[in-house]
Point group: C2
Chain length 143, copies 2
């Protein structure tokens, strides 16, 4: 392996630093996974991440993909979106936003938080505080 100039590429070299900023040691597998997921705004299941790793020739085990994605969520590098009872999606967009979930084809689409203004939140139960508000708008195809 030969090194590349630090400033030449932004994405490739920024990833390790980004991981460290979030308290994650940038190992080879983690950088691979982060590069795939963070390369653009997208919603991928663990399975899809694994498939892309294979395509890129990176051999990472299923368990590591799951554990790494879990770690990324814990460290707020990505968001976990739950819409399907049998599969979790990982969202590279961590800014406040909501989702359309197309129940016919299983795809997710972002909705800016500003497009769903909520007048007020209900009072939370005694002894608790609100951590997040997730809105999912289930849509179907008219055809």
């Amino acid at each position: 392996m030969h090194s590349t100039p630090a400033s030449a590429q932004n994405t490739k070299d920024a990833i390790p630093a980004l991981l460290q900023d979030h308290g994650i040691s940038p190992t080879a597998q983690r950088v691979e996974i982060a590069m795939i997921l963070l390369s653009e705004r997208q919603h991928l299941s663990a399975d899809q991440v694994l498939k892309r790793l294979d395509e890129h020739g990176a051999a990472v085990s299923k368990a590591t993909v799951y554990n790494t994605l879990g770690l990324f969520v814990e460290r707020s590098l990505v968001r976990q979106v739950i819409v399907d009872s049998t599969k979790a999606f990982y969202d590279s967009n961590v800014e406040a936003h909501h989702h359309f979930y197309n129940a016919d084809d299983g795809t997710l689409t972002d909705v800016d938080a500003a497009e769903v203004p909520i007048e007020q939140l209900p009072r939370v139960p005694e002894g608790t505080f609100a951590e997040a508000v997730d809105i999912v708008i289930r849509i179907r195809n008219t055809t």
Copy 2:
């Protein structure tokens, strides 16, 4: 087993009729499951339903519980609530409402839809229509 007057108990005898109203033939297993889930407003996982069936001495297989709950959802007898990526909850309350999800203990609490007024919904993508809006407010214990 001895029969009870038809009008004496409301719940027990109303269930078969309710199932039929929703186009579901009221077999023994389905009535058992419906009685457990619909006896009161609650959020149960498939697993919890199975456990209660066992406690009531009703022997119904795991597969039948899953398939029956899926059928109930399809026929709008109950609602499926998705908050945990590894488990689905079934909600006996089918009226418009949302949920608090306590991430610390995994419990769900109803929130009346009127308590979360939404000014407007975003325009849905071309060729689709909104089927439902689910709001989940994740809460944590302050302690």
